[in-house]
Structure formats: C-alpha cells, structure tokens
C-alpha cells in the first residue's frame, strides 16, 4: 500500500532561531520523499511562506499556509519538570493554525497583525482567546506538539486540564476544524501525553492527526537548531543543557516511516492526506488588489489620470517642437490605453499623489528605473527624462502580457525629507493600509563566525580577531575562504572543535537571523493590507513592516513603491538653495545648459564627488569615452557596470568611440537600434528592440525574452523563445551565422544589461552634480560635506580636492562656525567654505546648537572660561575636542591649540560659586602658559583624529623633500611620465577596491598634495603583501607606469608601508 502522508506541521528557519532549514530546503526534501504537499507553520508569522510557495510551485508540490500562533490565554508552553535542573524561560503555548480558504488566510493575517501591533515596540506578542474567536473562520486548528497548549496542560493539570484545552479550541474553531495532533520523536514523556491525547480525542469524537513537528529538513540539521537554541538563549552549548533537543527526530520523515510509527493509531496518517485536500488555499490566491485612488465625483480613475497627463503634456512639451508634441501625444494615448486596459490607473495616481506631496512640501523627488521609459510618468512629473525625446522603449516598463505590476522607484533626499514622504503615505493610507517591506537579515561570514563561536564557547578576543578577518570583499579569491580566515586568525583547523566550528559557520550561512526594515520599499493597500500579509512593528518608532521582503512581494504580485534615499538628491537640493543665496544666480535643475567646461572636466576624469562618475573605474574610462554631450554620459553611467564588463561590451564600445575600430552592425536592419551605442548593444531596451526588429517580436514578447534570459532557471522557457526568435529571423531572411551572433549578443548581456531609462535618470543627476561642482564649487562642496556619508570618497578627500580646485576651506571656529558647513564671502569677493561644528567628531548636536544659539544671542566668547560658563551643555571632553582641533584659537588669550587645551582643562573644573566670588585668588598668570605649541605632525594628528580631515596642507606635502630624495614622484609628476617607465609613487590610501569583475586584482587610489594616483595590485602581490595592501594608511608603490589614453596607473611590483606618525586617516575599502 502506498502511504499517503503529508507533513502538516513544519517550521523553517523563518521561525527565527527555532527552525534550521530554508523553506526551499524543506520543499526539496519533500520532492525527494515524493510528498505531494506540505504545510509551513512558522512562529507567529508567514515570513517564509512566500518563498515556500514559490519553491513549491516550481516543484509541483502544494504549499499549505499557516502559522504557529502564541496564545497567552492558553497557558505557558511545556518546560521540563521543576525537579529537573533546566533553564527554560516561560513562553506562551502556540497553536498551529492552517488556512483552509482565502478567508482563513485573511483571518490569520489579521489575527497576527492584531497582536503584533498591540505591542508598543518590535516584539513577538501573543494573541488572546477573543482574538482567536474573532478571526476563527476558515482556519483549521491542531492541538500542537511540545510547543502546543495540550502538552503543557496534560503535564501541569493532567488529562482533565488537557480535555478543557481541547474543548476550548473546539468552542472557537468548531468540531470540524480541530484535530488532535500526535507527534512521535522517540521520547517517553511524549508517548504518555500521546496516549492521553488519544483518549481525549476519542471522548470528544475528534479526528487524530500525525505530524512530525518538523524543525529541519534532514536529521543532521539538528546541530544547526541546537546552535540556534544556544544563540537564542544567550548561552553556550556546553551550558545549554535541557534547552537543546533531546534527539534529531524532528526532520521530514518519509511516509513509510511515519506509517510504521503510527501503525497503532488507525487513520492518523490518512487524515493528513484528507486534511491536505481540504486545505484549498494557496498563496497564488492571495486576493490582493491595488487600492483605488479617490477621484472627484463624475470622474473615473482613468479619466482623472487622462486629465492629469494632458496637463503634463502641455507643461512638458508645450514649448517643444510640434513634431515632438505630436509624438508625445501619440505615445501618451498608447500608454493610457494600456494602463486603462490593465487597470493600473490607481497606481499611477497614487505615485503622482506622493510626487505632488513632495513638490508641495519642497522635497526634491525624481523617479528612476524603468519608469523613465514611460511618457505618462514624465508627464506626471514622476520622472525627469523625456522618453519620447530620447526614444526610450515603453514596453520595458509595462507590457500587456507580463501579468505583473509596474515598478516605480522614487529618489528622495535622505533622512528627514524621505521620512516626511514615508509618513505622508502612512497617514494617507492608514496604519493598516501601508507598510514598509521587510529586509531579511541573514547570517553572513562575520555574524556566523561570531555567533557560532560564542555558542561553542570561544573567547571574545579570538572571535573579534576572526570576524575582523572574515572577508567582506566583492571578489573572492581561492584563498578567501572561511577556512583561510580561520587560519589567519590563528585557529588550528586540525583541532576537532575548530573543525566543527568552521563546519557550522558554513552551514548557517544565509539562514535568516531576524527581520529588518527595507530602506524604502512601501507596500500600499488601502485599509486592508493586514488581510494580505501580517504587519508588525519595526524597531524604528512609527514604522510598520510586512512579513515579506521585496522579492517575496514581487513574486506574489504585490505592488510596491520604492521611496529611496539618495544622498546626491539632498546635495542638489542644498545647492539649489545655496547658489541663489551666495552667487545671486537662479538655477533650474530641469533646464541646466549643456556646458563645454563641464564636459572638459568630465573628460579629464576630474570627477571627485560627482554622482556615479567618481569611482576609480569611471575615472579610468572617462578619458577614453570623452563625453561631450548628454547621451555620452548616459552611456558612461551604464557602461562601468559588471554587466557590460562581463559581457565584454565595454572594450568594443570604447575602441569604437576612440575610432580605433570601425562601427559595424550584426545586421543592417539593426542600425537604427544600435546606432546610438556605435553598434554595441549596451541597454536592455536595445535587446527588446533587436528582438522586435529581427524576429518581429511584439513589445510584450520581447520583454518576456529579456526576463527569460535574466532568469537562470527558466531554460525551458528560454528554449521556446529562442526557437521563436530563430524562426522570426529566418522569416526575415537573416542567415544562420548572423542569427548565431545576435543570439549570443542577447544571451551574453541580457543577464546584466542596464536599463537605458535608469541610466538616463542617473545621468541627469550626474550631469547636475558635475555642473554644480564646476560652476559653483563652494556651494557644491558645502552641500556635499553637509550630506555625508555619501559617495565614494571620505570628506578629507573631498576637501583636498576642493582646495586643489582653488576653494579656500577654513577650519572650525567656535566664534564663527555653525553646525553645518557654511559659505563665507572674502574681502576680495571670493567665496570660501567654513567647516561646521558637526565635523568635530564626538561633539553632540545638542551641545553644538547650544553654542551657536548662545553666540548669536549674546555675541562672541571672550575666553575659554566664558565659553564654558555660557554653554554649560558642553562637556569637558567636548571642550577638549574643540581646543584640540583648533576651534578655539580665535578666542582672546588663546594663541595656539595647546593654550586652548590648558585653558579648557582649567575651565572644565570650575570651583563652586562661593569660591568663585574670590576671583582674585583663582586668577592664573596668563602670561605663563606652560605648554608648547603643537608641531606640524601633531597638528595633523589632531586634525585627523578630531575631524577626520585637515584644512591645512596635505600630510604628504611635509614629506615631499624626503620622498624626492627617494625618487618618489607626485601624482601630477606621474602624468608626465612615459608608458612603461618604472616609477615610484606614494600617497595616502583613500580607496581600495577589489571588483568582482577584476579577477582578484586590487585597485588602490592614493592621494597626495597634487592629486590622486592609481595603483594596480596583482593577486600574486596581494598574496605576498596582504597586510601592507589591506592595512597601510600611507604607501609607496613601485612598478611600471601604464599611461594609456591619458589613463594613468602604477602597476605595482613592490609595496612599502610609509610610517604614518599615528595618523588615523580612513579609506573606503572594497566596494
């Protein structure tokens, strides 16, 4: 007889530290065991159900949805007897609930949301019986295993108490929907409870069901569960005792084994299959509908949207050529028709509403991503790129056959402005109508090493050393394994305990650790989101999150709006305020002129601080690409990406751009498609157009092709489409050889290709940032320093770069500085920038603000003591800090930093008021200030330690004469050297990169007083001089110079650490 067994009580690692397998692994095991269905019941949520469902669908397994819900009214969960030593902390018993219908699922989501939101902060929470009663319909209740209420009632109150619990559940869920659950894990105590449960089931005429209370897919994963238990209870394995599992039986068991195990309980196994058939609900039947946008009476959403778009067209294209206007109108009509057909008008209006809110509240906002392909988005001012003018492809954004929602990402200035927009969405759609998507935080190298190490009882110091060594590089070399890191940390891999440690670290990689909040993804569903997915509190006050991350939401067709913080938006916004104020000129971001000087600067790769074009790789390609119009910048933004580099598109494009190679096309018909990119396909839109041109694909089919190529697992789908593509090409008379080239082109870059619309949106910001930096350096530098951290370089580098471009940067001064950096007008009419108090590391904002308020209201400070007395909020440490960085040098009686230190140390220890009356007694001889002035190197140390930068000369300046003796060249001198010449260069390391595409090569950027020099480190050299490469702050690199097309690198053959006089400079490493 074939056993019909379905596991209806499984938990995954999404029970956060109470389960040890990924939902996908559970499904994989179910497939191996030929189990037709399985139910996932995670603790207090459906966190893993989306992934469980997606994986099950792919493998033709039915995925049942449910959860184990903690109920405080059903008593505590089972713990060992009081006479046994144990460390269990009291927890509520949990009842397993399964969703029979969509109504049941909606009730489960609402039930979980109810008790989760009852908590004032992020927490587990628990339901009460009234909650269960309210949301009972459509749910099936099991009596639970060790975690359930029946087990604990039987142990604490005997069979009578057990019966009462089951009767309570029957009262709530009805006789038809309660199953008495039996689990057999080979435990004596459990069997006693099972026998009691059987008698109760018999007396109440309830069906009995067998489950295995699964916590992991395979038996050996019990070890991971034990480690998780130990992490959860903050105790090491040696001391965890009875908290750990007794055996490894809670894995998915084959039907035959379960049948054998429950052969004495007739029907217990068969009931699982019957119940599985009864559970009709699956996540594909979510019933999610995007909210309607409220429109005035007499309007439909479509008509309302049409009107808004018409207004937008007039605004955007009114002053353009009539041809463009006509094309725009035609495109709008096409898009609106499709939007109406797909019923997406509400979505566009909601996004439009958010944009309108931002505009009303003076918040800079710009859409990015594929939305920039849509003329409707442009007309609604969601995006700033004109897709008609730029001839972008709408189908990349929205297509009829795709069956999924469009995706609009909105960039906002970071921090409070973005928060303002998020809170507006909450307020408009209600607490139960909008929430952030979750971000599942998983175990990675460092966290795994740290937490498993703690569980195994390793000391903190060894763990600290290890986690600092576990690589976080983008590129992993053959020696960058975890085992290698262990060895470097001084662990002996032959020791069995260490070997186990390493093994466990690898096994818990990628398992979920806890739920965080996604940076900007918002899910909206007016007033009913809680019946689609449970909501819970985020750790940030005032925020709620859904239990799924953005991929899960996308998989289940839930629409989201990404409200992303983009530091550069804040910089541009600040520039727009500073420029009229200090330069007396008005600038409009949408109408920036094409400027030759800006393009010349870009061509020279003089791009520190500019959006998207400031990285080393960008700098290395700018002199080759030589952008001289906006579209070149679009290509520039898109081309330095892993996709084009891996797809080997970058070099052909560059060669053609430099006219070293003729422009050719795979087929003459593709010339209009590829002309803009010199015959080299670079953008996803071009892939779509290629398919449309050569094989007569419709826009929707072409988009399907792009997605099929992009998904590694859809070989079958890809094969069908490839057949269709070939057939289309043959029909168009394209020969087999050309067909092959075209297909190769498509498959090589489709995986990584960048959307043109997205590149265009970013290029707009890149151009604006370049324009502001070239034309309004003081304003740009001030804005970028006030919006740190952002971008590729540290403030120290930005300041030095600005100084090299002629900006005078002044130090922090308690008599002048505000919290933020400010612009000052010099007597000669030039503008300079004053560092703000915010750059004093460790000064609290409250104290800094108090200082500024006091200075503004009562004038400058007369002495260090005066400052101390007038701003009592400044702590002694803060006073010392200000004195150390020279911020008090302009106070009367202070001639240098150590004078200030001497005085604040006195002023920070004031006597009581009585003694102070006799001020004569306390007066010190100010002429006898005993401390010596700081030396130059001491001042540098103080600057870097106190502010992270120096406005004085670059540290390398002071060593120049010594370096010259060693024949070390400066960055500017390198530019004059020949290609291949052996050179020595030195500088302060500002960035180290090991890009995924560079096969283990490391790129180091070094700065000196004349500019930035780039060094290439081969993998071999890295192996030999690992510490010098990763730890040195100042470096001498020796090797041949590469000067190709004005792009200069030193290919290091030897690296020497330059002693740094304790300077604590920092670099951005391994992006």
């Amino acid at each position: 007889m074939t056993s019909r067994y379905v596991e209806l009580h499984a938990a995954s690692a999404f029970s956060f530290l109470e389960g040890a397998s990924q939902p996908e692994d559970l499904i994989e095991r179910a497939v191996e065991l030929e189990m037709p269905a399985m139910a996932l019941l995670d603790r207090n949520g459906v966190y893993g159900s989306a992934r469980f469902h997606t994986s099950a669908k792919r493998n033709c397994v039915r995925a049942h949805v449910g959860a184990e819900v903690a109920v405080s009214s059903l008593g505590p969960r089972l713990t060992p007897h009081a006479w046994l030593p144990h460390q269990h902390i009291p927890e509520h018993a949990r009842i397993p609930l399964l969703c029979e219908s969509r109504e049941g699922y909606q009730n489960l989501c609402q039930l979980i949301t109810r008790f989760k939101l009852r908590e004032s902060a992020k927490g587990e929470g628990s339901a009460v019986l009234d909650d269960l009663r309210e949301y009972a319909s459509g749910l099936i209740c099991l009596t639970g295993g060790d975690e359930g209420p029946l087990a604990s009632a039987l142990v604490s109150g005997g069979e009578d108490a057990g019966r009462q619990i089951v009767e309570q559940l029957v009262n709530i869920y009805g006789r038809q929907s309660v199953y008495v659950e039996l689990q057999r894990h080979g435990e004596r105590e459990q069997e006693w409870r099972n026998q009691a449960a059987l008698r109760i089931a018999c007396s109440l005429h309830l069906p009995v069901i067998a489950t295995n209370g699964v916590r992991y897919a395979r038996a050996h994963e019990r070890e991971v569960l034990d480690v998780f238990t130990s992490i959860r209870n903050h105790i090491n394995l040696d001391r965890a005792g009875r908290l750990l599992s007794l055996n490894s039986q809670r894995h998915i068991r084959p039907a035959a084994q379960m049948t054998q195990l429950f052969r004495d309980v007739p029907g217990a196994i068969e009931t699982t299959a019957d119940l599985s058939e009864r559970l009709q609900f699956e996540l594909s039947d979510l019933g999610y509908a995007f909210p309607r946008y409220p429109v005035p009476d007499g309007e439909t959403m479509d008509s309302f949207l049409g009107k808004r778009v018409a207004e937008g067209v007039a605004r955007r294209y009114g002053q353009k050529t009539s041809d463009l206007l006509e094309r725009a109108k035609k495109q709008m009509e096409h898009e609106l028709k499709l939007i109406a057909k797909l019923g997406f008008a509400g979505y566009f209006l909601i996004v439009w509403d958010i944009v309108q809110f931002c505009k009303r509240n003076d918040i800079l906002i710009q859409g990015r991503g594929s939305a920039a392909n849509s003329a409707v988005c442009y007309a609604l001012e969601i995006t700033a790129v004109d897709p008609v003018g730029m001839d972008l492809l709408f189908e990349r954004f929205l297509s009829e056959s795709r069956g999924e929602w469009p995706d609009i990402d909105l960039d906002l200035p970071s921090e409070e402005k973005r928060e303002q927009a998020i809170q507006y969405v909450y307020q408009r759609y209600g607490v139960l109508g909008a929430a952030m998507t979750a971000n599942v935080i998983c175990y990675r190298g460092r966290s795994a090493a740290r937490e498993v190490g703690k569980a195994l009882g390793f000391d903190q110091e060894s763990l600290g050393r290890l986690s600092s060594l576990v690589g976080h590089f983008e590129w992993k070399g053959p020696t960058d394994t975890m085992a290698h890191s262990f060895q470097h940390a001084g662990f002996d891999l032959k020791h069995p305990r260490i070997a186990k440690y390493l093994d466990l670290c690898m096994r818990i990689q990628d398992l979920p650790r806890h739920l965080g909040q996604h940076s900007g993804g918002m899910v909206i569903c007016q007033g009913q989101l809680n019946s689609v997915v449970p909501l819970e509190r985020a750790s940030m006050p005032g925020r709620t999150i859904v239990q799924w991350d953005k991929e899960d939401c996308a998989d289940l067709g839930i629409i989201k709006v990404d409200l992303l913080g983009l530091g550069m938006m804040a910089v541009l916004k600040d520039c727009l305020e500073l420029i009229p104020q200090h330069y007396g000129e008005r600038v409009d971001l949408a109408q920036l002129p094409e400027d030759e000087e800006v393009y010349l600067t870009l061509q020279k790769a003089d791009t520190v601080g500019m959006f998207q074009v400031e990285s080393r790789a960008q700098m290395a390609s700018l002199p080759r690409n030589k952008p001289d119009r906006f579209y070149d910048l679009v290509v520039q933004v898109a081309i330095i990406r892993p996709g084009p580099i891996v797809g080997k598109m970058m070099h052909p494009y560059m060669r053609r751009r430099q006219k070293k190679e003729p422009v050719s096309y795979p087929h003459p018909s593709l010339e209009p498609v590829l002309k803009r990119t010199l015959g080299v396909p670079l953008f996803q839109e071009q892939l779509l157009r290629i398919a449309m041109t050569v094989a007569n694909f419709s826009g929707a089919e072409a988009e399907e092709l792009r997605r099929a190529v992009g998904m590694r697992r859809s070989w079958e789908r890809m094969k069908n489409l490839e057949g269709k593509l070939r057939a289309g090409m043959t029909a168009n008379g394209i020969g087999p050889k050309v067909q092959e080239t075209i297909i190769e082109n498509i498959s090589s870059f489709a995986l990584y290709g960048f959307p043109e619309s997205h590149a265009a949106s970013f290029a707009l910001l890149a151009y604006a940032s370049a324009y502001f930096k070239v034309k309004y350096l003081a304003a740009f530098t001030c804005a970028i320093l006030n919006n740190q951290p952002m971008g590729f370089y540290m403030p120290a580098v930005l300041v030095k770069d600005a100084q090299r471009h002629g900006l005078r940067v002044k130090p922090i001064d308690v008599q002048i500085s505000r919290w933020a950096c400010t612009i000052e007008h010099e007597s000669d009419g030039a503008l300079s920038m004053r560092l703000g108090l915010g750059y004093a590391k460790g000064l609290r904002k409250r104290a800094g603000d108090a200082l500024v308020v006091e200075r503004i209201s009562r004038g400058a400070f007369h002495s260090a003591e005066d400052l101390t007395l007038r701003v009592p909020g400044l702590s002694r440490k803060e006073l010392t800090l200000l004195a150390r960085v020279g911020a008090m040098n302009s106070i009367e009686g202070v001639s240098h930093r150590r004078d200030a230190l001497w005085q604040v140390d006195r002023a920070g220890r004031l006597e009581g008021p009585l003694l102070r009356q006799q001020s004569e007694w306390l007066r010190e001889d100010s002429a006898g200030l005993p401390l010596e002035q700081m030396t130059t190197s001491e001042r540098l140390v103080a600057d870097y330690a106190g502010t992270g930068l120096t406005v004085g000369r670059h540290p390398m300046h002071y060593r120049r004469s010594e370096l010259r003796r060693q024949h070390v060249l400066s960055a500017s001198e390198l530019r004059r050297c020949r290609d291949g010449e052996i050179v020595r260069a030195a500088g302060c390391v500002i960035a180290r990169q090991r890009p995924g595409t560079a096969k283990g090569f490391i790129f180091i950027s070094m700065e000196d007083e004349t500019g930035i020099a780039n060094v290439i480190v081969t993998p071999d050299l890295y192996e030999r001089q690992r510490l010098v490469v990763t730890r040195s702050k100042f470096l001498i690199a020796e090797g041949p110079l590469q000067n190709q097309d004005g792009v200069i690198h030193v290919k290091a053959i030897n690296l020497i650490e330059l002693s740094d006089h304790d300077l604590r400079t920092s670099s951005h490493d391994f992006h």
């Binding site: 604490s156 005997g158 069979e159 034990d226 186990k500 150390r884 230190l901 220890r909």
Partner: protein, 504 residues
C-alpha cells in the same frame, strides 16, 4: 639624632613568565622561547625572551601564528613556577635587606629594597647592585637594578632603563635630572590621564616636572601633585615592607626510612601539635591538612584531609589522617614528611536550649571518613542531577543542611518504580528487522513479549563527549515462566547493549 639617608634599590625583571620557566631549564635559555597562556585552543603568547622577540614573536600571538616562526619553543605558563621563582627572588633580595616591598605586575617582577645603612655590609650601592644582579643571575633570572634616594624614582628608573644597562645608580639629589628623559609610561598612568598628557604634548618626566604645580592641580586634581612629584623624584613613600607569607608548613626528614604506619603516627602527632599551636596563636584552627610523604626510591605520596569544620583537636586529626593513610597507604618506606595546613576560623556552634541534640560534628566526620574509606571519596555526598539530557548524569555534592525541605509532587500520572542498575549490566540481544526477539541477562535467556521504544537520545555532538542511546522498555519471559520487566539500552556510539534498570 639626624635621620639616616634613605637609599632604595629597585630590582626589575621583565618578561617574568618566560624567565621563571627558563630558570629551571638552562638548556633552553640560548634559543627563542615563548610562553603561552590560556586553555587550548584559545592560547596566546604572554611572554617571550629576546631571541624570540628578534625573530618577530609578539605578545598575543596564537599557537598557529607562532608555528609560522620556525625554531621558537612554546612553553605553557606555570603559575607555580612563577611563585617559586618569586619566592626565591624575594629570599635572594631579602638577604641584602630585610625591608622589601613588592610591586610585581603580570608581566614583570618588581621589588624595592630599602638599602639605607647597608654600606658597611655590602659596600657602595653600585657594588650592592652588581652583587644583587650576579646572585639573581645564578638563580637564572636576568634583572636590572636602579638605586636612588627616592623609592618611586628607583622604580621609574628601573622601568625606564634600557635593557643593556643592568645597573643605574643615581646619587641623592640628582633624581630629577636622571628621570627627566624617561618616557611617561614608566609612571604606569591610566589611559585617560595618559591621553591628557599626550594632548598637552608632555612626553617625558622632565616635561611633566616642569609644569607649574598649582595650575596642574587645578586641572588634574591632587593626583597632578603626586605625578609631578614622581616626575621630579620627590614623591614621598610610606614603605610597607612585606611580611613573609604565613604558611602553616612543617617538614621533617626522618632519620631512617619508616615502613610502619603506626611508627609514623608519633612523628605525625608532633608535627600536628606544632601546627595546632601556631594556628591557635592566631586564633585559627586547621581547616585542611596535606601530608606529603617523600618515598624511598623517589616519588612522593600526598594526602589531604578536610573535615566538615575546622578543628584544633589533635586526636581527631590523628584519627582522620590515620584512617586516610590506612585507606591510601604509601607504596614504599617514607623518607620525609611534610605537613601543610590550611588555616580556618575556629568552629563555634551555638546550641539552642530546646533544640534536639545533634550528633557531634567531629564524630560525624569520623564516620563519614570511614564510609569514604570503604566506598571511595567520589561516592559520598548527595547526588544532584545535572542540566543535560545525558541519561543518568549527576554529580555528588558534599552533604549540607537544606534551609527548608522542598516537597515536589507530580500530577496526573502513575509512576512505575524503576530500579536503576549501577553500573548497567551488559546483555546480549537478538534483533530481527528492528524488533527485539530475545536477550541474555545474568546467564538466562529471555524471550521478549512486548517492547516499547526505541526511546532516542543524543547530545554533546560538538565535543568528544558525544553520546547517543536507544532504549526499550521490555516485558520478557524466561522459559521457566518467570517474567522480567526492564529497560534495555543500546549505546549507539559504542554499539553496546545493556540492561539499565528493572521495573518493579
């Protein structure tokens, strides 16, 4: 009478843990050696000699890192050897001056001797210092000595002297100039204070000494005054000489080897008498006595007796030691005897007027000692279950009187008594397709009629103590009709069947 001129000599031995070990291992002294502390696998280098330093050994290295430097010999840190070395050094320095004050920290041995007035005995400070260094060198320890008229100045000078200078003599009144070039670290400042001085640009004792006193006090408090005095070599010091440690230790070398225990008891009694008198003089009693017997042919035999309460009852002690030695007799004739006692507070018991009479504590101790002699020490006390799933895991704890008797009652289930077999008895089991058919127990074959199980348990998978068991509750019958109900256990790790217990 004028005050005698003060003179102090500071002895400073750096890298003390490695020096303490190499002292008794002269063959290793020339080569690179490093000392590891901590428990494996988390060990780190805590000290090393100059040869090792030259090769690049650093404090904090792990054994694996150390292995990358060839020829370095790794030794484990030994607290006992450090103690014995310290004792030897103190004794050595004590022979130059009876007034010693020890300031040893974790990594270095520091001891200051008040050598005022020793000129007539040991000559000028220079010759005293050289003699001291030579004597310590004989002991196998390399140290440096600084002498000045100020206690703290001597310590600072010794800490700040370059390792090549073994002797530093600073005449009275010249302390300030001698201290001036030394770095601030010799003062052992706390990190906060060190940071303040660093900010001020004060790097040497000279710079610190030149700061004006009152403004300094106004900034760093009274500690500023002290530090300034230290830097000038004028800080006063109240010399607190160390007393020889109080050790209840008596040793006797026997004239001839003694084989009979009874003969030994006479000597034992005499030693105990001395110990009791010495303890009693300090109003203490003996809490534990360790008898260490040096045996003929090398080797020692050591026994410790620890009654429930400290006592000065000589007869009780003789009785307890007698029984212990009877139970654990020395393997050879005894050459010498050493008795070391731990002192404890005298036992005082206040009996209530109406409280029931308790057994005399001393007599109970004798009884328990008798039981221990029979069943073994580890088997006396009350068993306490451990927090683990491992079956039958418990530890024995000494008897103690519980504050209140706790009563536990289990609800809702009938408990069948199981008589645990300790140790479990091996059985042979006949199994067919996971079913138990029969077993041989105590030379009888039983046919299994019913078996419940297997009950499964496993744990400690992360360590060498890994265990795993499968157990069955069985009802089995002998061909003669007799029935047996028991618990059969299969040790999965060792693949071994045992009868763990029998049900009533």
């Amino acid at each position: 009478m004028s005050r005698p001129i003060e003179q102090f000599a500071c002895v400073y031995a750096q890298e003390f843990p490695v020096q303490a070990l190499l002292r008794l291992r002269p063959e290793l002294r020339g080569g690179p050696c490093a000392v590891l502390e901590g428990t494996p696998p988390s060990q780190q280098v805590c000290s090393c000699n100059t040869s090792a330093l030259d090769l690049g050994v650093e404090h904090g290295m792990t054994p694996v890192e150390l292995e990358t430097i060839p020829s370095v010999i790794a030794l484990a840190r030994s607290a006992l050897e450090e103690v014995s070395t310290r004792t030897a050094l103190l004794e050595c320095i004590g022979s130059f001056s009876p007034s010693l004050e020890e300031l040893t920290d974790d990594g270095a041995f520091v001891c200051v001797a008040d050598i005022s007035g020793t000129e007539r005995l040991h000559g000028q400070p220079t010759s005293l210092a050289r003699a001291l260094i030579d004597r310590m060198h004989v002991l196998g320890v390399y140290a440096s000595v600084a002498t000045t008229g100020n206690f703290h100045a001597a310590v600072c000078l010794a800490r700040g002297m370059p390792p090549s200078d073994r002797v530093g003599i600073v005449p009275q009144g010249q302390e300030a100039s001698a201290l001036a070039p030394l770095p601030l670290r010799v003062l052992g400042l706390d990190p906060e204070r060190a940071e303040t001085f660093e900010l001020w640009g004060i790097k040497t004792l000279g710079a610190l000494a030149s700061l004006p006193e009152e403004p300094l006090i106004a900034r760093v408090g009274q500690d500023g005054k002290r530090l300034r005095q230290l830097a000038r070599g004028t800080a006063p010091h109240l010399f607190v000489p160390i007393e020889p440690p109080f050790a209840l230790d008596e040793f006797i070398e026997l004239d001839s080897p003694v084989e009979l225990l009874e003969s030994l008891l006479f000597v034992l009694g005499a030693l105990l008498g001395q110990l009791i008198v010495r303890a009693a003089n300090r109003a203490l009693a003996l809490a534990a006595v360790t008898a260490t017997l040096a045996l003929e042919g090398g080797g020692t035999h050591s026994r410790t007796v620890r009654p429930a309460l400290p006592s000065n009852d000589k007869r009780l002690w003789i009785k307890l030691l007698h029984m212990d030695l009877e139970m654990h007799p020395p393997g050879a004739a005894v050459l010498s005897l050493r008795l070391a006692a731990e002192p404890g507070r005298t036992a005082k018991v206040q009996l209530g007027l109406f409280s029931p009479q308790l057994p005399d504590a001393t007599r109970l101790d004798v009884t328990l000692a008798r039981i221990r002699a029979v069943v073994g020490e580890e088997n006396v006390g009350s068993p306490v279950l451990n927090d683990t799933h491992r079956p039958g895991d418990f530890t024995m704890q000494p008897f103690k009187v519980a504050a209140q008797q706790e009563r536990q009652s289990s609800v809702g289930c009938v408990v069948t008594p199981l008589r645990q077999l300790r140790p479990p008895e091996d059985v042979t089991v006949i199994v067919r397709e996971h079913d138990l058919l029969a077993f041989f127990f105590r030379h009888r074959r039983y046919e299994v009629e019913r078996a419940f199980g297997p009950w499964l348990g496993s744990g400690d998978w992360w360590s060498s103590a890994r265990w795993g068991t499968q157990s069955w509750d069985v009802v089995a019958r002998h061909p003669d009709g007799s029935l047996i109900c028991g618990c059969l256990v299969r040790d999965v790790v060792q693949s071994r069947w045992q009868m763990a217990g029998l049900y009533d």
